[in-house]
Symmetry: C2
Subunit: 570 residues, 2 copies
């Protein structure tokens, strides 16, 4: 056809196939071509750690439809109606001529492909840190199905038994679980003093780290990897600035970098720290060139956050793909942005974040308030009930919800997604406490944990609750201040588990507190606590009512305490 | 104290203790008294079916704190600081004198109790339908721990084996599961032609009913119970307008009615259909008298819904309790209302609703659009992946999300709560598709089912997708219209399960469709479908592109088909 719209899509993993498929649904007679450097297209890279773990038997499943059809060039041609060309690399965009120079990676042939609309879905690549030895055999990154497949083959074939993971981000944590489940000894080395430093605050990360250690992952935090040493061309050990760790394999997971070079060389606007700049319709600075997925920087859905964010996720890539197709087809629905939501499983614990961490929020707002809640995710009489810790971050003046973090064995993912919605819609903390969430014992207690956390934060904003975050409590306890630790749990609970700093502890069960006020000194500061600190908060109010002014409760209690606790008679 | 604020709270189950406890935290020196007719206070009535099921061993657990302390008068006095008086019935409010006449149900003593602020938390009671025989032994309602305890004792002691449940609402469905799990034969009789008639649309209810039947519950829909027959004073059978059903026990679950008589007699505004009228601070028409919990009518969180709603739930009761205490203490946070969210487990299936059903929406809006999506809740390579069906209801003009229903074995509760938040915040369907929900394979596919449903609905609103709801498809197929049913699944799938109306079916796998267009007649209307109808939708677009105009796809495909399907060679 003479007037056929020619759309060329560079990149075939997530945003590329999504935009191509939708475009063919919207404009059936468009001439859509997708090119990809690799052999495979449309694979679920996020599923790779679960292949290593052994969750599913064939690596090809990440490239198949739910009914087992391989998503290859033939599939896209037949089922979706667009052309897919693999092993083709785009080397140069000529914006004036509206052509892209492409090179076949096997034959070396080059040619110019014309376009009316161009879509850059070039993705990202793993950061290769400047560590000597990463060229050795048995060093892996985890981005492509080949990575997962070769790692499993080598682990099995070569009996690799000791793994060192460099970087404790998403991929690091997911791979730590995968490799432990596969029977390896796993050490994770992170240059920061916490896991997931870009993702969770120190307190929540430290809580999550407790769980990883319990599952046998050796965490080496605050150490820098200097080199990877080899023997006969293969990994033998990892040298940090403090120790040598023997290793049969190394996984590098220190983040990814957007593939924005093609765009940069074509003069398209890019972020100084990397990533193609796009508008709400995923248009680059050239309106005929779109970009989406891991190669772009995102805007935040809440307008207070002006900085562009590089948060590469398959969920966002698919949203971009849809927006690109819609805009080319004239069905305009702008993409307002992301809230930085992420979730990750570490054994039986879920880690999640949406919006800003406390650390990020304090860089943007002068008046940040936080609250930490710990407790069961279901009514206590439901045996499936599991613990959960939620941290909420808000702005004092506007009372807007800025961020939520979740860590726990309970249903954290549900609360995270509700919070993601609340932030997306610009909710205040007051509103979050009032959402009409579904209540039935198999799903939630009558006041949902997310609502209880909002209530605690409101109580702090309103000056009723004086919660002290665990980090702050620990800092003050460690500094040797003259503080009384008031444990208001039952005698049975007191026998089972204890807060450290035992010389500072006075144990008075909550029910006895009103009758024993004379046993408490009026000249000391008091930190009350219980298992989760609901009774700790109650104790604070009782003491306030009795004229004790310097009382706070330790937020999250013992369940939310990120550091060691101890067991009497153990 | 002379100036002590006297607060009297009538009702000790949910809203009562919540308001009393919070009030004492906010105003420690207030004189707070809670009175309750029964012996027990502060019990989790929603947990009763799970006691009958055998989920937890002691009925007292619904009256205990998570650490096993009984929530009785002594507990509330010691831990919370307010007085609790049981077996006391309030018989009259003197608004001018600001006193309440109370009568001790054991001694008959009466006296007047003065108040500055009065809280009515009188709850609701089961509706007792005018059916002869309900006074027989072995007829139960399920409202009070005594009900659950005596039912279990009689089932075990008297070897009761056949149960008839009158009413297929929340309690009916939960009790059907509980009694089946306890080993009884269960028949559920419902006067409407669907389960949960106040809660789900016919299509979603019919889908859920399939699951109940598979678990052995005998459903008798569209029949009216005329009487319960007894033998030696005990239940022997249930007579409907069509049949006699033998029964050893009867559970009546036809709804509850607000206990608003005390308020009515005191001249406080009440809704004509029952329920005390309150403002956003839970004040009745007398500003010194508050009311909350099951005895009031609620406002909807979305202002379009003007009608007061009677939706008695423990979650709302607790919200009311908080608002009441806050308003008395001068920390005003109004309660904006509910979205009618409810969730219920039926064996391994979750049923949920938030906002309006299609039926309700069509009574309020002239331009309602719906979409049904079916599919797995997780990426297909995750073995824990389970099916889910979501129905979304929106207003065409405003594109506002009006309601969401969920039925399925997958994680329906998460999607329900996100939808509840979206409706609470007044979201459009476009926005719902863009929320930055957490993505990782153990928790969700890259495009969350809720977002996919929103996208389908947007495609319908934008005229791209022509989905036909299963009910409408069935009606037209049954009417004998000349329709072609285009099954675009793989040959393997086609061998495993089939749509009825086999003479109308043409099977062409999606990948072969573009090459076989000449096999399809251009003069017939075509309904395309697949397992879940994503390929059905794709087929519609392919056929539209090839000039076939009268094509739609059956929403939800075979997984979302509420009626029978068949298995070849079975």
């Amino acid at each position: 056809m003479e007037n056929q719209l020619r759309v060329l899509i560079i990149g075939g993993v997530a945003c590329g196939p999504k935009s191509a498929s939708r475009l063919k649904r919207l404009i059936p007679d468009a001439d859509v071509t997708m090119i990809e450097r690799g052999r495979l297209v449309s694979y679920g890279a996020c599923g790779l750690p679960y292949y290593v773990e052994g969750m599913y038997p064939e690596i090809s499943m990440v490239s198949e439809t739910p009914v087992g059809v391989l998503r290859d060039a033939a599939f896209f041609e037949k089922a979706k109606g667009f052309k897919t060309l693999t092993r083709l690399e785009a080397t140069r965009i000529s914006r004036e001529a509206k052509t892209v120079r492409v090179k076949h990676l096997d034959t070396g042939d080059e040619r110019d492909v014309p376009y009316d609309k161009l879509v850059l879905a070039t993705g990202s690549r793993p950061i290769q840190p400047p560590i000597p030895g990463l060229e050795l055999a048995h060093v892996w990154y985890m981005r492509h199905p080949d990575d997962a497949e070769s790692m499993v083959a080598e682990i099995e074939g070569q009996k690799l038994r000791r793994a060192v993971i460099i970087g404790a981000g998403y991929i690091g944590v997911e791979m730590a679980e995968a490799l432990v489940r596969r029977g390896l000894e796993v050490t994770m080395v992170e240059i920061f003093d916490q896991i997931m430093p870009q993702f969770l605050d120190y307190d929540m990360a430290t809580l999550a780290a407790k769980q990883l250690r319990q599952k046998g992952v050796r965490l080496v935090l605050g150490e820098k990897v200097l080199s990877v040493q080899g023997k006969e061309g293969k990994v033998a050990s990892v040298q940090t600035d403090k120790q040598t760790i023997e290793a049969d394999l190394v996984l590098v997971g220190v983040g990814v970098r957007p593939n924005d070079e093609l765009a940069r060389e074509a003069g398209l606007a890019c972020h100084p720290r990397g990533g193609i700049v796009i508008n709400g319709y995923c248009q680059t600075s050239d309106p005929d060139i779109y970009a989406g997925g891991d190669c772009v920087v995102n805007h935040a859905a809440y307008p207070e956050i002006k900085d562009a964010m590089f948060v590469p996720l398959g969920s966002t890539s698919n949203k971009h793909g849809r927006v690109i197709a819609d805009h080319i087809a004239g069905v305009a629905e702008p993409f307002v942005g992301i809230t930085g939501t992420g979730v990750c499983r570490a054994f039986d614990v879920t880690l999640g974040r949406t919006g800003l961490t406390e650390k990020q929020a304090r860089q943007l707002y002068p008046d940040v308030e936080t609250a930490i809640w710990a407790g069961p995710d279901l009514p206590h009489y439901v045996p499936q009930s599991k613990p959960l810790v939620i941290k909420m971050v808000a702005c004092r003046r506007s009372r807007k919800l800025l961020g939520v973090q979740v860590v726990g064995m309970g249903d954290a993912s549900k609360r995270l997604d509700v919070a993601a919605g609340a932030i997306f819609f610009g909710a205040t903390v007051d509103q979050v406490g009032n959402i009409d969430l579904g209540y039935a014992p198999p799903y939630a207690p009558p006041i949902d944990p997310l609502a209880v956390t909002a209530h605690l934060l409101l109580n702090k904003l309103n000056g009723i609750a004086r919660g002290i975050p665990p980090l702050e409590a620990r800092r003050r306890l460690e500094s040797g201040e003259d503080i009384l630790l008031l444990d208001v749990r039952t005698p049975d609970e007191f026998q089972m588990m204890r807060m450290p700093y035992e010389k500072l502890v006075v144990h008075i069960p909550l029910g006895a507190l009103r009758g024993k006020l004379d046993q408490l000194p009026r000249d000391k500061e008091i930190f009350a606590f219980c298992k989760v600190s609901m009774r700790g908060y109650e104790a604070q109010r009782i003491l306030n009512g009795a004229g004790f002014d310097r009382v706070s409760y330790i937020e999250g209690g013992l369940v939310g305490w990120p550091f060691e606790v101890w067991t009497p008679n153990a």
